[in-house]
Amino acid sequence: MSTESHMRRVTAINNGTVIDHIPAGCAITVLKMLGIDGRRSTPITLAMNVPSKKMGGKDVVKIEDREITQSELDRVALVAPEASVSIIRAYSVAEKLVVNLGLEITGVARCCFSNCATWGDREPLPHRLKVHSIEPLELRCHYCGRSQDMEAIIDNLL
């Protein structure tokens, strides 16, 4: 069975966003990072652990009636650096976006360190995590310098 036939399990959408090539099992995290909790949003379709030639297995997310912006997308870079994103209008691909990790992630997650100067939600400057290395992925708080792993970032999403 080809990847294409798997894809057909998931219905095509009229308008919205398709995020493909998410590492298997990470779709929920991607939604969390986009601030989508499924209660107050438009219809969401998830496909998890879909066989993929490129990745072995992958997740796919389709978000109806919502076009993800580039800055929203860059949040996703942490979990899905290879994701390919299509903006769908009237059943066809209107735009393709590329995920870009960049050098710094601002306003996405709090620093995980409980003694950081930013702790407590009252300080007004933005939370800033700097990409210290990509392989392996390591982020450090701009202020206190603490390393943050993926788990900590997900726990501390804003």
């Binding site: 950081c116 930013t118 009252r122 202020y143 206190c144 310098g145 390393s147």
Partner: protein, 316 residues
């Protein structure tokens, strides 16, 4: 350079320049020469946790150069505990002063303040983070004794886990190609994160629990205080405190030029009989805090230190 938050804010060349300027400022620091380079400037001393030594040494440095100092006052009665954010506090002090020296219990507070302020910030310690002005005075002391910072054998002893002083110093020494030996009990060893960072910079590092074994080859033995609070029980503290302790007799196999340093205050780590040996350097080290900070204040305020300073009458 806007602020000094970590040693990464200075290149090796800049470090040497600050040390050279500090050296020329020695007669001013001793009060032998009047040189009001910072006249009309105001330093804001923001110490959110008590620190007699660092605060006084900033204050002395500013006043020796003819500047003024305003102090935050007692943290318990200031607005910090009433819930004012660091951001708001910095906005206010920023308007009153030309430069701010600060110590704060939270890590990253100095960077946060620097991002909030227009005036330069001198980090005087942020949680378990950085303490670069201490590192500068340590480097000054080491260079004064050995004539160089390059390629020395430095042993750092005691609490290497929580001591921000030894973290900043290790980074700086590695940049000058020093060989480091970390001497500590297992429970207070240098954090893995820091060791891996140092090794990435090509550091030659040995870890041991045996202080005696490092004495013969060391050029510098940097002692630190082991705090009772770090230990779950008194007996373990007493055992460890007894091992990581120097007395004069221990120093007989040392090289003639080896120096013993300590950021002070000491408790029992260095026995008083070491004070009278040629190796003791911790009191000069404390005094050097004044010149090192004088030099840094000038640098951050963009005031040039004259190339020649006479020892009796100021600028030539």
């Amino acid at each position: 350079m806007a602020s000094l938050i970590t040693m990464d804010d200075l290149t090796n060349e800049e470090i040497i320049e600050v040390l050279d300027n500090a050296e020329r400022l020695l007669p001013v620091a001793r009060g032998e020469t009047h040189l009001p380079l910072l006249e009309g400037k105001i330093l804001g001393n923001l110490f959110f946790e008590p620190s007699t030594r660092t605060r006084m040494s900033f204050e002395t440095a500013m006043k020796r150069l003819g500047g003024e100092v305003v102090n935050l006052g007692d943290v318990k009665t200031s607005s910090v505990v009433k819930g004012e954010t660091l951001f708001d506090m910095i906005q206010m002090v920023d308007g009153y002063t030309d430069i701010i020296a600060m110590r704060h219990p939270r890590q990253g507070a100095a960077q946060y303040a620097s991002d909030s302020a227009r005036v330069p910030i001198l980090n005087g310690g942020d949680g378990a983070g950085h303490h670069p002005t201490q590192t500068m005075l340590d480097l000054f002391t080491i260079r004064q004794a050995h004539g160089t910072l390059e390629g020395l054998n430095v042993a750092l002893v005691g609490d290497l886990r929580f001591g921000r002083t030894v973290h900043s110093l290790s980074h700086a020494l590695v940049r000058f190609g020093c060989t480091l030996t970390f001497v500590s009990p297992e429970s207070l060893s240098m954090p893995d994160e820091i060791i891996s960072d140092l090794k990435k910079h090509g550091a030659d590092i040995t870890e041991t629990e045996n202080l005696r074994s490092v004495i013969p080859s060391a050029d510098v033995i940097y002692m630190t205080r082991i705090q009772k609070e770090r230990f779950p029980d008194e007996d373990e503290y007493a055992r460890v405190a007894g091992i990581f302790k120097l007395c004069a007799a221990d120093l007989s196999p040392a090289k003639g030029g080896m120096i013993v340093m300590h950021p002070l205050p000491r408790v029992n780590e260095i026995s008083p009989d070491v004070d009278n040996t040629k190796h003791a350097r911790y009191f000069e080290q404390a005094f050097n805090g004044v010149v090192a900070r004088m030099s840094l204040l000038c640098r951050l305020l963009n005031v040039e230190v004259p190339a020649i300073i006479s020892s009796n009458g100021g600028e030539n």
